[in-house]
């Protein structure tokens, strides 16, 4: 049994005049990457702030490594828990290394001098996030993705049992998001820490999280492996709204088209997956039992329609979709 890092007992969160959620019971174990997902306004930030000890719970208790988070002194808390926020920080003239070194704050004496161990920890944190080449460079020169890596390294340099990250991928492009998520999963597993992050990136969360905390607006927190939540229909329920629907087959959202036409696809491999995707996007439902068929051929696509005997050849999926849309 892995060590329990964080335990939440009957927690109620919110503000004096506005309760956001009640009766939350959960725990986080070492080595686990947990993604907190929910629509805007469900209270993700409020929950994270409460778990980080930045906001008092309305009721209940949060215990970190067995101690009530409200009773741990600031320095010890900082040695057990670190955070990464969404907002981009401009710290002026610092190198990557100096930024990460600030993370040793809860360990150094009043002068802030880094001991050998501190420096070793900083260097380790820098290389753990794969930022060795960024360490000597001034922050002003770095991209958002590179800064985010260093901010994660800074949080790691605090040597915490739990890291809480508020939308760490918010301002990054897709390859960088994947990179950051993979990095966080690797850190959780290999360094045996618990990592809790909030994200709007459902697809990435489904692929990387060990567990998902699903926070629907005004309802109880639903927790489970990503796949469990998909199969139980929890996602569909949480995100049900007009115009958008969760597709349990692909694990992503799609817009709901009104009148859906049926179409069959014949072919295999990668080409089939993407052909189906293109057709779904155009509003078709893929089913074998229909007269309109798209064949995947050596050098393109053939479309055979129920009413016509001739088949039409197209060189690209764009052309296929355009043709089918008109008909």
């Amino acid at each position: 049994m892995k060590q329990i890092i964080l335990e939440i007992h009957n927690l109620a969160i919110g503000y004096p005049k506005h309760t956001v959620a009640t009766n939350i019971k959960q725990s986080l174990i070492a080595g686990e990457l947990v993604c907190l997902i929910g629509p805007n306004g469900a209270g993700k930030t409020t929950l994270m702030r409460t778990l980080a000890g930045m906001l008092s719970p309305l009721a209940g208790q949060v215990s970190l490594l067995g101690d009530d988070i409200r009773k741990i002194d600031a320095r010890t808390l900082a040695q057990r828990l670190s955070i990464v926020l969404t907002d981009r920080v401009d710290v002026g003239l610092l190198t990557g290394y100096a930024l990460v070194a600030i993370g040793r704050h809860p360990y150094t004496d009043w002068t802030g001098s880094l001991s050998h161990d501190d420096e070793a920890m900083v260097r380790w944190a820098v290389s753990a996030v794969g930022a060795d080449d960024l360490a000597p460079r001034p922050l002003a020169e770095l991209s958002d993705g590179e800064r985010q890596k260093l901010m994660i390294a800074r949080a790691l340099a605090q040597d915490p049992a739990l890291m809480i990250l508020d939308e760490p991928t918010a301002f990054l492009d897709l390859p960088r998001r994947v990179e950051v998520m993979q990095l966080l999963r690797k850190l959780a597993r290999e360094t045996d820490r618990a990592i809790l992050l909030s994200t709007h990136d459902l697809d990435l969360a489904l692929r990387h999280a060990d567990r998902i905390w699903l926070m629907p607006k005004g309802q109880a927190l639903t927790v489970g492996a990503p796949e469990d939540l998909v199969l139980s229909g929890a996602f569909e329920k949480a995100f049900r709204s007009e115009g958008v629907q969760f597709d349990p087959r692909t694990g992503s959202f799609r817009s709901v088209e009104q009148a859906q036409k049926e179409i069959a696809v014949v072919g295999d491999g990668v080409a089939r997956i993407w052909t189906e995707r293109a057709l779904e996007r155009a509003g078709f439902v893929i089913t074998p039992d229909t007269d309109t068929v798209v064949y995947i051929t050596e050098d393109g696509w053939q479309i055979k329609r129920d009413t016509l005997d001739v088949s039409i050849e197209k060189k690209s999926l764009y052309d296929v979709v355009q043709y089918l849309k008109i008909k």
């Binding site: 980080a52 930045m54 600031a74 320095r75 010890t76 808390l77 900082a78 040695q79 828990l81 670190s82 955070i83 926020l85 907002d87 920080v89 401009d90 710290v91 002026g92 003239l93 610092l94 190198t95 100096a98 600030i102 993370g103 704050h105 809860p106 150094t108 009043w110 002068t111 802030g112 001098s113 880094l114 050998h116 161990d117 420096e119 070793a120 920890m121 260097r123 380790w124 944190a125 290389s127 753990a128 001034p138 002003a140 605090q158 040597d159 690797k186 850190l187 290999e190 360094t191």
Partner: protein, 367 residues
């Protein structure tokens, strides 16, 4: 790699260079120290009467200059002035640095919380209304007049500090504090304007002269108060380096790293007020140095690390103040320019040049 990850200390440590643990950058600091000594000697040499460097050194070493007036000039006039300039420049620079980091704003300065406004009001009350209250005219600048001015300014600055600290304990957002400071400044300048409007011209002139600022008004007896206060403040600022570094990331991160933000805020504001208030009390409201010097130090060192910045700002502030003194006195001439005008005339182009060269203020500073 996996091994690396699992065990931080198993990594073979390649220490790049044997760094001195205080984090001070010794080369720029050394250069500035040499420059400081040279300019300090220049201040003792130049003025309405030029004194050769050999004579100055003799006097400093406790000897007698070849003309007895020179000994008096160096010891009684120029040395107190130079010491005042060094400490005032350091104090203003460091308090400006603290305010810029605290508010994460490159335009912040020592007086942003209204400390000089408070001092001005104190002085205005004494200078402009003294006649109607006590019947004695303080406008004649005797020793008593000077000390009364310093006392009034100190009292004004101290009261302002007290109010700001009381408010700072209640308010969580530093932005609100910044706006309150600005409003407080407007309020006190309005009071001063009203006092000026009803005052007689001679009194107004005395008040205006105070606002010009000077390093020459301090005598040895006053330095006994001035020096310890400033030195305590500077030591305090150095102790706060670690706190200031944590605040570079903003208050939320600072708190998450175990910093008691509330207590730090009181300490930073308190020390800023001590430094800026003391300087204003003895030298008048000296503008610009406090805003410009931190920028100069930052771009010279190329870092925002306060462990290095605080000592560099102290030296840079002292150098800038000494240069301003030399220029204000127009060597070889009887004319003395207002110090405040000189600091801005010299400083503004320098700062513009530094910032344009850097291309971006946000790169020379955290904003």
């Amino acid at each position: 790699m996996a091994d690396n990850i699992l065990n931080p200390t198993s990594q073979i440590l390649t220490r790049p260079k044997a760094k001195l643990n205080l984090g001070i950058q010794w080369l720029p600091i050394g250069i500035m120290l040499v420059a400081l000594v040279a300019i300090f000697l220049l201040v003792l040499m130049l003025g309405s009467v030029q004194i050769p460097i050999s004579e100055v050194v003799t006097v400093l070493l406790g000897g007698e200059a070849s003309r007895s007036t020179w000994t008096t000039i160096v010891l009684q006039v120029r040395l107190p002035k130079a010491v005042t300039a060094v400490l005032a420049g350091s104090a203003l620079g460091v308090s400006g640095l603290m305010m810029q980091t605290f508010f994460r704003n490159p335009l912040a300065g020592p007086f942003i919380l209204g400390i000089s406004s408070g001092a001005s009001l104190g002085v205005a009350l004494v200078v402009l209304t003294a006649g109607t209250v006590g019947g004695t005219v303080l406008a004649g600048l005797g020793f008593f007049g000077d000390l009364a001015l310093a006392g009034a300014a100190g009292l004004g600055a101290g009261l302002t500090m007290l109010i700001v600290l009381l408010i700072a304990r209640q308010i969580r957002s530093s932005m609100t504090l910044l706006i309150l400071g600005l409003m407080f400044g407007y309020f006190t300048s309005a009071m001063v304007s009203i006092l000026l409007y009803f005052a007689v011209p001679e009194r107004i002139q005395s008040y205006i002269r105070w606002t010009f600022g000077t390093f020459s008004g301090t005598t040895w007896s006053q330095l006994w108060i001035f020096v310890p206060l400033v030195v305590i403040g500077l030591i305090g600022a150095f102790i706060l380096s670690k706190t200031l570094n944590a605040l570079l990331l903003g208050e939320t991160y600072a708190r998450s790293m175990g910093l008691d933000v509330g207590r730090s805020r009181i300490a930073i504001i308190g020390i800023t007020a001590l430094l800026a208030g003391t300087v204003t009390a003895f030298c008048g409201p000296i503008g610009f140095v406090g805003i410009a010097v931190p920028h100069l130090a930052r771009s010279l060192l190329g870092t925002s690390n306060h462990r290095a910045l605080v000592p560099a700002t102290i030296l840079m502030g002292a150098i800038v103040a000494l240069i301003a003194t030399i220029v204000a006195e127009m060597p070889g001439n009887q004319i003395i320019l207002p110090l405040n005008a000189v600091t801005s005339l010299l400083g503004a182009p320098v700062v513009i040049w530094v910032i344009l060269r850097r291309g971006n203020v946000s790169k020379t500073f955290a904003s």
